[in-house]
Symmetry: D2
Subunit: 336 residues, 4 copies
């Protein structure tokens, strides 16, 4: 497949550092060419031990560093719009972590900017589309053997939330994964959101509305319910049951060694998304590298990033008002 793809990684935090490790040690066909982070020490640390890498405080400088042929954006959400536009300006293929752009207005500007280019450059980091179980479920639904999907029952649990986590982030950070997964599995846009509030857990931080129960309606009438519970205490669990006209399919149960002792027959529960979705991230980045080296852009795109932002925004409004909020999507630019 020719030489290694040189990648500039923007953002050297938790996620950026993990992607740098992945590009260096896991993925075939790529190398890290540049790392940028406003905190130069963090950038240096993430690049330590790699050869042929330049480090930068300025994101745009990294794009112009020698050997950079593609970009992986792992900086905080508010920095994404500028980064994506800079990639578009340079014609650089880019894999951008979710959220593409936190607010839907900014997200729509990205949609329009890429549409103006007349070709795709961006893949958005909805890594669940690369999870083996989700792909099996998607293939089953697409094959049509179970008839039309009527409902999706989803669970999204974390052990505990980080300090800075807000009630709105249960919707626009956690549930945003289910929003994209539901759109993708159903092959439909989501048209309305209702966020319900069960009594909060005593183990959630004071003031955090956790758990929440989110209802999503699709354009052809499927109903998606999502339990999101980020201080469950007991594990990282992402499950989905698709209920169709002629059968149901369930993914996300524990699939590990069964250990039987005096305490019962037990299976370990993943404690972290990096454990549960390690394979999905690896496949996502490998697929992006492979496509980029072939000169293609595949996977979820900027419209998916925009739609997820718009639905999440409606969800946050529903969280505050308590009622059902319709999603108002802009017209989708024609694919060319």
């Amino acid at each position: 497949m020719g030489g290694l793809l040189g990648v500039a990684v923007l953002g050297a935090g938790h996620m950026g550092a993990d992607h740098i490790r992945r590009l260096d040690q896991v993925v075939s066909g790529a190398r890290v060419a540049a790392v940028a982070d406003p905190d130069i020490e963090r950038a240096k640390q993430a690049a330590a031990g790699l050869t042929g890498v330049t480090v930068h405080t300025d994101h745009l400088a990294a794009l112009d560093a020698p050997g950079v042929a593609a970009v992986l954006v792992a900086s905080p959400g508010p920095a994404h719009e500028e980064a994506l536009l800079a990639c578009f300006a340079r014609g650089l293929p880019v894999l951008c972590e979710k959220p593409m752009v936190p607010d839907s207005a900014g997200a729509l500007r990205i949609v329009e900017a890429e549409a103006a280019l007349g070709r795709r450059l961006a893949q958005i980091g909805f890594m669940r589309r690369y999870d083996a179980e989700y792909r099996r479920l998607k293939a089953l639904l697409d094959a049509g053997r179970l008839g039309r999907p009527l409902m999706l029952h989803c669970t999204h649990r974390n052990v505990s939330s980080p300090d800075h986590f807000t009630s709105a982030m249960l919707v626009n950070s956690s549930v945003s994964h289910e929003i994209d997964a539901a759109r993708w599995l159903l092959g439909q846009e989501l048209t309305a959101v209702t966020v319900l509030r069960p009594t909060p857990s005593s183990d959630a931080p004071e003031g955090l509305i956790d758990p929440q129960f989110v209802l999503l309606e699709s354009e052809r009438g499927a109903l998606v319910d999502v339990e999101v519970f980020v201080n469950s205490g007991f594990g990282y669990q992402v499950r989905c049951e698709a209920v169709c006209e002629k059968g149901s399919a369930r993914i996300g149960d524990e699939h590990t060694m069964v250990v039987t002792t005096g305490g019962g027959a037990a299976q370990e529960v993943a404690q972290d998304y990096l454990v549960r979705f390690a394979g999905a991230y690896d496949r996502e980045v490998q697929a992006w590298v492979d496509a980029t080296r072939r000169g293609e852009v595949t996977g979820p795109g900027v419209w998916d990033g925009y739609a997820a932002s718009a639905v999440a925004e409606a969800g946050v409004r529903s969280l505050h008002t308590g009622g059902r909020v319709a999603v108002d999507l802009a017209p989708r630019p024609r694919p060319r």
Copy 2:
């Protein structure tokens, strides 16, 4: 435990005939003393082969038949109010199938009539409280090890619905089981109902709103969601996951032999509630017979029957209006 308890069975339809078989062949300590059905042939057929049984077209005559010391009401719902009042008038202990009385006003009259007696006589046939799995879940929740319950996720699927089934019956016949189970598991009253309508299955009869997705709110803020899908085509599945502050517990998965062939590793799915809940019915009737012979009345009572009717009534209103409907319970008579 002394002589056999003579039981009058009112109603010799599907359910009544099954209870007659159960009292005769399964349960210890009881015998069928009288059978009543407006269709005398049906009554005779259900009593065929039994000795010491009188058959009647008139329900009240059966109560007064020789040897009758207790009553099992398995007639259609609209006949229950009269039957229960007649039992109360005679001081006869009675096990009454659900719905206790279809409308909440009538149900409340039963509550008041028993309260006026100053003692319990009636047990209501919410047989799930006698299912081994539900009992295990109830014991776990009561033990408090998982903290407060925050959500219950419930599934209630049938293979197909009978001809006469209406959209309202998904709520007041099918979901009424979940209504009682939720009240019992949570130890709380339900205060509001919202019925949502996903796109109906093409396999449901024309005009039937199936599936439905029912949201129940409890007085202390727990949220209960119920998928009810009576033309699922694939099985009789009753599942419940309780999500608590410190853990979750799930019942109702398939618990059968795993058969692995070229087609995969498969487990049979129950096709009928009499299969899934055969043990629960047996235990329910045995427990009722045992308590009655001890001179006690245990199990779910008339208040439970009333509350289930009231919540189901609110649910049917929500099905028609599309919005959330609050449940307005009468004050509960003091227990004596």
Copy 3:
């Protein structure tokens, strides 16, 4: 079905007392008419609260007590031969706990004695044939959909063994259940036994050869392996996987509520055979009562009792010699 069947229960130990409770409180159509135990206090205690029961120190006297129409033998194995012969002499239908007769020579005498009667009177207490899962497996194998059975993989674990348990009892008490189950499932006699000795568990009592691994060969070449481990410490587990030409089927996995906490996703493991096989005992005794009241004898018979003794005897020889021991069955009396 007419009046209650009066049953004499011989033996009021753990198992006898449990059967007395079952006949009185669980099973339909029977009553306890007499109880015999050499320890009269034990007999009285087991009969406490029952009416119409006589208690005896002499087993034979109990058979002749008023109202006795059938016999349940739950005394220690060495007393069984005399009890069965006495039942045969009186023409009394009898359900005899396993082992029918501990030594195969005595067991053969029972076979011959019943053959001389010209009709069946005895059912032997191989209760696994009444377990719901075993019955499902038997029905599947008999249906022939999976082709011929080639192997059975069996597991038989107890939490701990009673004080008096010997190495031979792992074979002739524990594995005797698998011996009968294998004969029944395969529909074939067993022709050879080899008992292997893995390193004993440190948690087994000093000198007890535990676990053992038992190989049984059937007349048409199926191979049955049994792990028997009576001081496993972790649970009462009885599992069986049948491997056939066109598929496999597995029974005995844990079928209980899944509780997920910080410690993982766990299912309770049964700790006692009375928990795991409670339903099987109930169905066994109910089926025996029903058949007896119809004037029939069904279920496993004296030949099954004899064959199990003969195979177990060969197994104990193999345990001592370390080699394969052929089973030498007497000719089976023709059924009449």
Copy 4:
């Protein structure tokens, strides 16, 4: 980690071609530098699309090709001894597919040759040691929480066997995986083998002894049983249950989406080892590449290859004689 590791791949058959694809497209840090196969067209086809690769009919010529820094041996077993010795002569690190050398005498020569070098150069391709589930089981056993392992119950099923498959190959090709896995999991040598022959499946080719049931004894008394059934018809299933003093642990159950339809609740069963162990092969080769680039040799070594050959050889003798065959290992060269 510096430049890419140039790898010569010997053998361009099914397995070799798969490793070439893996080195090129999956693994990070390596490139294919040379491909050798007696069939030059096959070598060319396997190398098609790659750059910087030379193709050879002569294995030794490939070792000397430009850029070759390590060797992956995927040629037929009989060619391995020469290939390994040539790698040793050149000081080239080598990953050699199993069997290391088919006969134990040849395998021992490899052990001695590497011992004479005074350092490790070879890793043997027992890829199960890199399977996520096996690693979890190994970690659990090593942690000691379950006490000493007493038994391993193993299952090894294929859908069907290739045309050339012989009865001996069930032992020395299929079970050889379990032989190595058992040695590794137990941390003990195997000292005896007994191969039992259940009645063959009608679906196995005429004359093939399939299934077989293999008993392995370890030096400290653990007992390992292996069902090997290569014409099961129903799937590729590799399972292992470790029974220890204080608990058991089971791996290899189906871990896939549950699809519920009118036919039951089903999980797909893997049909092919490349599906079941794809991740294990990827991790194995990645770990080898990583270690080689660090200048280290890790993973299973030549002694493991020799021991597996010796045990398998004893197994084949047992298959022919029907009796237990002791394994006679040469003294292990001291590690330096």
